[in-house]
């Protein structure tokens, strides 16, 4: 190769979009899992589980893409971040095991249905909370010495990361309620709207707390948001977010099937952009930028070939499974694998 093409922006985009796809897609099915235990009857719980049964495992593909992408394209970041969030990642994986098994065992292991019901709900909640811990620790930054994480394995459990964890639990519940509104009708849908309203209130409060706490604890982030002229350029972010909260509230109270979900998704997009603005261009906050943590150009080029081949396949089968299982779930039709 005579001319070196800079692949860092491409990999940043792939990782950024991949992680967002994960948050959006697994976010709603973890959310559905958390709401599941609040359903009154077994019939309702069956419908709720069936609403995500065909798609939840495909959604988790994006977690693997995000993890492997970080490992391969930004190895220095992986080497620092993953040891720093060792326990939250471990908790997430163990929680996901219980949650995934619940789909299989709940119906085959009829005597222990309540056990797997709880496994499904608590597994979902713990996975969401653990992801929030990772995000919170990431925003706060890590104790770095040279090319290593220098802190301890429990440093990531801070009041801030715990609040971000709760924030994600609330946000995922909102997405989950949005999905259930799309997938159900009648009484069950009305129930999902009620829970959606509570989740929206909780999410709004949590996002507000995190948005105020972050700049307060970090002068660099505060300067980025509140110095002139940034404050003018960035003002649309909180304004649009506030408008979206209003929109989701209204559509939860209307007859709209898709409004709450689409609005909640847009709320996630805005929060994601907000975090990106705060941290850019660092991938290990305060220590390494995306460029500094990137693998060698030859490595990134190497990986890109495989990724560009696989990504369309993932997108196509994901889209296809959503298309096949579109529409409302009903008690008499399900899916079995």
């Amino acid at each position: 190769m005579t001319m070196e093409l800079d692949l860092v922006p491409i990999w940043t985009l792939i990782l950024g979009v991949g992680v967002f796809f994960y948050v959006a897609l697994d976010g709603f099915d973890l959310g559905v899992g958390m709401l599941y235990n609040f359903a009154a009857t077994r019939e309702d719980r069956n419908l709720i589980m069936n609403s995500i049964a065909p798609i939840w495992d495909g959604n988790e593909t994006w977690l693997i893409l995000g993890g492997v992408g970080l490992y391969a394209a930004f190895p220095l970041a992986f080497a620092i971040i993953i040891p720093a969030v060792y326990f939250p990642v471990l908790l997430m994986l163990l929680a996901l095991i219980f949650r995934g098994l619940a789909f299989e065992f709940r119906y085959r292991d009829a005597e222990h249905r309540t056990f797997w019901d709880h496994g499904f709900a608590w597994g979902s909640a713990l996975a969401a909370f653990a992801q929030g811990l990772v995000l919170g620790a990431f925003i706060q930054g890590f104790d770095v010495d040279g090319r290593h994480f220098a802190g301890g394995s429990f440093d990531c459990f801070t009041p801030f990361s715990i609040v971000v964890g709760l924030c994600l639990v609330a946000g995922y519940s909102l997405l989950g309620a949005g999905l259930l509104i799309i997938k159900t009708e009648g009484e069950l849908q009305a129930w999902a709207r009620r829970l959606g309203r509570r989740a929206l209130v909780a999410t709004t409060v949590a996002v507000l707390v995190v948005s105020i706490w972050t700049p307060l604890s970090d002068p660099v982030i505060a300067a980025r948001w509140f110095s002139w002229p940034n404050i003018a350029y960035l003002a649309p972010v909180p304004i649009i977010t506030a408008a979206l909260v209003w929109h989701v509230w209204r559509s939860l109270n209307s007859a709209s099937d898709f409004g709450p979900f689409v609005g909640s998704l847009a709320l996630f997009v805005m929060s994601y952009i907000g975090i990106a603005i705060s941290l850019w261009p660092f991938i290990v906050p305060k220590h390494y930028t995306l460029d500094q943590a990137a693998a060698a150009p030859s490595t990134q080029a190497f990986l890109l070939i495989g990724t560009l081949f696989l990504l369309p396949i993932i997108l196509v089968y994901t889209a296809w499974s959503y298309w096949v299982f579109r529409g409302k779930v009903r008690a008499d039709i399900g899916y079995h694998h």
Partner: protein, 313 residues
């Protein structure tokens, strides 16, 4: 990482040079074939065991007889094939990971016409085996395919580049021992089949049932052989396991996470095993309800339509 290839080392960091070389590294074909074949054999022994149980208790014996024969014919091909693949894998290990091979054989002294150690206690500190039973010259024959082929002993490697010998030595013997039992089981099956006694020889059917877990134990023993045998290296010959540990990770962190994994597996494995056993105890359904197509053209859900869920009846 066992036989790394297709990379270059620049300033102490590894960079890929060739996908093809990295994937098709020297031990790749043997490792892949030996592992995949092991899974087929493992599964076939489970089928054999379930078939044996079904025939023995007289529950859907027609299904059971088919399972027995299918599994036996399959194993008649795959068990010998697995032995050949294992032998080829061994030749490859001799070439690329001689220290591992020496540990598998419990061989300390380099030599020609080395003995085949049957059983012994390898003593890492004393650099010798105690209470050894061995067959002279046989080792060289199966390791190098020549009566006086040279095989390197552990003493050829500095003590800090030797794997924990006893673990590798015994794990390898467990794997090979199970392979011998497998060959005997299959051979006995064919003798009984030839005499038309396969379906009513109760002791043999019981043996088949016991062999259900044999493949799993062999796979884990083989895995232990290759992974402990490659110590002390993470990237063979290049990066030591001790160097690849995350600096922040303490021993107690690892212990906590291991205990958490164990806790989860202690719940999941018995439940999964019980559910599968229950399927076997119940026997095949008279009519295969699940296969019936329903309205949407999709079969029924994990939340099988409520009426058929056992507790809802």
């Amino acid at each position: 990482m066992q036989t790394p290839a297709g990379f270059e080392l620049i300033d102490g960091r590894y960079f890929p040079k060739s996908w093809i070389e990295a994937i098709f590294n020297p031990s790749f074909p043997y490792r892949l074939a030996h592992t995949v074949s092991a899974f087929y054999v493992t599964t076939a022994f489970v089928v054999l065991a379930v078939g044996a149980y079904t025939v023995r208790v007289g529950q859907a014996p027609a299904h059971g007889r088919v399972m027995l024969r299918l599994a036996l014919w399959f194993l008649a091909i795959f068990v010998p094939l697995q032995a050949i693949l294992g032998d080829l894998h061994g030749l490859n290990t001799l070439e690329y990971q001689p220290a591992k091979l020496a540990a598998m054989e419990g061989l300390w002294e380099t030599g020609r016409g080395v003995p085949a150690s049957i059983i012994a206690w390898p003593d890492q500190a004393q650099e010798r085996n105690t209470g050894e039973m061995a067959i002279p010259r046989l080792g060289s024959l199966y390791l190098t395919h020549s009566w006086d082929g040279e095989v390197k002993g552990l003493k050829d490697f500095p003590p800090d580049q030797r794997p924990p010998v006893a673990i590798v030595y015994f794990a390898f013997r467990i794997m090979v021992g199970i392979a011998v039992l497998m060959v005997l089981t299959v051979a006995t099956g064919f003798v009984l089949m030839a005499r038309q006694r396969l379906d009513d020889t109760t002791w043999y059917l019981r043996v088949c049932q016991v062999m259900a877990g044999a493949g799993f134990v062999a796979v884990i023993a083989g895995w232990t052989t290759t992974e402990v045998g490659r110590q002390p290296w993470t990237i063979y010959g290049l990066m030591r396991t001790a160097e690849s540990v995350s600096p922040s990770l303490t021993g107690s962190d690892v212990l906590i996470s291991l205990l958490l994994y164990m806790l989860v597996y202690i719940i999941i494995y018995p439940v999964g095993l019980f559910l599968m056993l229950r399927l076997v105890w119940k026997g095949p359904a008279v009519s295969d309800e699940e296969a019936e197509p329903i309205e949407a053209g999709h079969p029924k859900g994990p939340i099988e339509a409520l009426q058929s869920a056992p507790e809802a009846r």
